[in-house]
């Protein structure tokens, strides 16, 4: 099976709701890295679309509605990063066989700073190089295949929000900068 077909198969699994853990261990031979890359392709695309076509358009271009960290209180749009995290939390509740998170060396919330040794190494490398990073780590009693992808500023909304946020430790972001990293973990046999 060619990689393209494999990726299509993984994407189909995602669409049909089949357990990602099953996909990782199915006899079709899909590797954890292929699965993580496929998942990231979906995440990155959805995130870019929400950022550009919803938040940036309605807030920055058409002045229809603002996006806010306190979106519920202020009857505003959730920030793209919040949208992403809410999805990650919902996936976590489903015990879907993988988890993902959004980290940064310059997080608005310090809880989102790289913490595990592999996160620290991988996020540092993807921010520096703009390329992907893969590795394995054991957290608790479980081994994980961990994939780390650069998270790039794709619209003015990204950089203005972070540059102006009172808790942002870095305020000189430009569009195209790697602002953080998406971390996907897939449990594997140790």
């Amino acid at each position: 099976m060619t990689p393209r077909i494999l990726l299509a198969f993984v994407a189909a699994l995602c669409v049909t709701g089949c357990s990602a853990k099953q996909a990782a261990t199915a006899p079709t031979g899909i590797s954890p890295q292929q699965m993580a890359d496929a998942l990231h392709a979906v995440m990155e695309s959805d995130r870019a679309i929400y950022t550009k076509k919803v938040v940036n358009r309605l807030q920055n271009e058409e002045n229809v509605i603002k996006a806010s960290e306190h979106w519920k209180d202020e009857q505003a749009l959730p920030l793209p990063a919040q949208m992403f995290r809410m999805g990650a939390e919902m996936v976590a509740e489903k015990d879907a066989g993988f988890t993902y998170s959004l980290l940064s060396p310059w997080p608005v919330n310090k809880q989102n700073k790289p913490k595990t040794p592999l996160e620290t190494e991988g996020v540092g490398k993807v921010v520096e190089s703009g390329g992907n990073f893969y590795g394995e780590e054991t957290l608790g009693d479980q081994a994980y295949f961990t994939a780390i992808y650069p998270d790039t500023a794709v619209a003015p909304a990204c950089v203005t929000c972070h540059n102006e946020h009172k808790d942002s430790p870095r305020t000189d972001f430009n569009i195209g900068d790697v602002m953080g990293a998406v971390v996907i973990r897939i449990p594997v046999d140790s």
């Binding site: 306190h70 990650a88 939390e89 509740e93 015990d95 595990t116 994980y144 009172k166």
Partner: protein
């Protein structure tokens, strides 16, 4: 332990009603004692697994946690990157902090951990917030500071946004209830309402005897004399759901006999001891007078210090003024104003009939109730003053919580640094 579990498992199926009292391994908390003989409510199987037990918690409390935007959801702890934290405090499971049947180790809010548990993950809090240097971890959850689950009225930006408010707003903004008829009632027409019915909300909206009592007349075999909450739910589903979630209706919701005032752990009036709780207990049959339900019904049973102090409180003075027509609608504060708050959803405003929803910890009352009339800082201080709560807010707060000062101070310091 296995033997104990097996005996309990056998007991759940073999014992019924009060016989099950012998199976209780220890007194239950205030939150659960009403349904402690409905073992299946929590122990959904003879050998309930941790996940099954957790699901039982979620089945009853999940919606509330979701609405409150739980600050520490399970998903935070199932994230592998927090595995080291879970090893110290397994917050994936409610029972880690809220173990039942251990009264000797259980404090307020059903907390069965030492109350300095926050240090497990937030030991370095003072690094980012110097104002917290030296504060004991047993003070984190003091009134007005932090709440493990619900911080909607306590988060930093909210405190800063409301930092300049005075004690009392010039105009109270208690929401006006939407008409239940418009919201819930089926389109029933009536030919001639019976005597004594005239003027009631049901009469005015065309609800017939049979709509509640099932049969067409009292002589019919299908006539239901005492209308159960489930029947009311035909039209008032949201209200009855709330009733069944709070302590007034949780026994009914668990298919046990209705709660009576005499079974309450709070002080109740002796003459109310046998009073069973259903919709009509507070709303009174046929009249359905919301003014009665808002105060008189409550004080007809509740006999604690806070309730007894209501009649002479400033809140009551406003309520009597509104009821008598001297003060405008929405300016009075009844028991229901605070404990059965009005909740806006879309273009509807309904009454939350779970009177426990915003009661513990009492900071949950700030956003749902207090801020309609008072500044946030004043509200935090008032709710933190235990004596003031008991006296039904009969004076100015004698306690000052530093949270707003800390929040604005941190912002000022940041601006100064920049």
């Amino acid at each position: 332990m296995v033997t104990t579990a097996a005996l309990i498992g056998l007991g759940i199926t073999a014992f019924r009603g009060d016989q099950r009292t012998a199976l209780l391994p220890g007194a239950t908390t205030h939150g659960h004692y009403q349904i402690e003989l409905s073992c299946e409510s929590c122990h959904t199987a003879a050998f309930t697994s941790a996940d099954e037990m957790q699901q039982a918690c979620v089945d009853c409390h999940g919606e509330e946690l979701s609405v409150s935007e739980d600050s520490h959801p399970k998903s935070k702890f199932t994230d592998p990157r927090n595995a080291s934290r879970v090893a110290r405090l397994d917050a994936r499971y409610c029972v880690t902090c809220h173990t039942e049947h251990r009264p000797e180790a259980t404090a307020t809010m059903g907390l069965s951990l030492p109350d300095d548990y926050c240090y497990q993950c937030h030991l370095d809090v003072a690094d980012e917030r110097p104002t917290h240097e030296g504060l004991g971890f047993d003070t984190c959850a003091d009134a007005g500071c932090h709440n493990f689950h619900d911080n909607r009225a306590l988060y930093e930006d909210f405190l800063v946004a409301h930092s300049l408010e005075t004690a009392n707003h010039p105009i109270a903004t208690v929401l006006t209830r939407s008409s239940l008829a418009e919201a819930d009632a089926p389109p029933v027409l009536v030919d001639a309402p019976p005597d004594g019915w005239t003027g009631s909300a049901h009469h005015l909206e065309g609800t017939l005897c049979a709509d509640c009592h099932d049969a067409a007349s009292p002589t019919d075999a299908g006539w239901i004399e005492d209308v159960p909450p489930a029947k009311c739910a035909d039209c008032h589903e949201q209200q009855v759901t709330g009733f069944g979630t709070g302590r007034h209706g949780m026994r009914w919701a668990a298919d046990l006999s209705p709660m009576t005032a005499g079974e309450a752990r709070l002080p109740m009036r002796n003459e109310a001891a046998d009073r069973q709780l259903d919709c009509s207990t507070c709303h009174t049959s046929h009249r359905y007078d919301t003014e009665v339900a808002a105060v008189d019904a409550c004080l007809g049973c509740h006999d604690d210090e806070h309730s007894r102090a209501y009649a002479t409180s400033p809140h009551a003075e406003l309520w009597w003024g509104e009821v008598s027509g001297v003060l405008p609608e929405g300016s009075g504060v009844s028991c229901a104003t605070c404990h059965l708050p009005r909740v806006a959803s879309g273009d509807r405003v309904r009454v939350q009939h779970n009177q426990n929803d915003n009661l513990r910890p009492n900071e949950k009352m700030i956003r749902s109730v207090c801020v309609n009339c008072h500044g946030v800082g004043f509200s935090i201080d008032a709710l933190a003053d235990r004596a003031l709560v008991l006296g039904n807010f009969d004076a100015a707060p004698g306690v000052h919580v530093e949270s707003i000062t800390m929040a604005t101070g941190r912002l000022s310091e940041r601006e100064r640094t920049e």
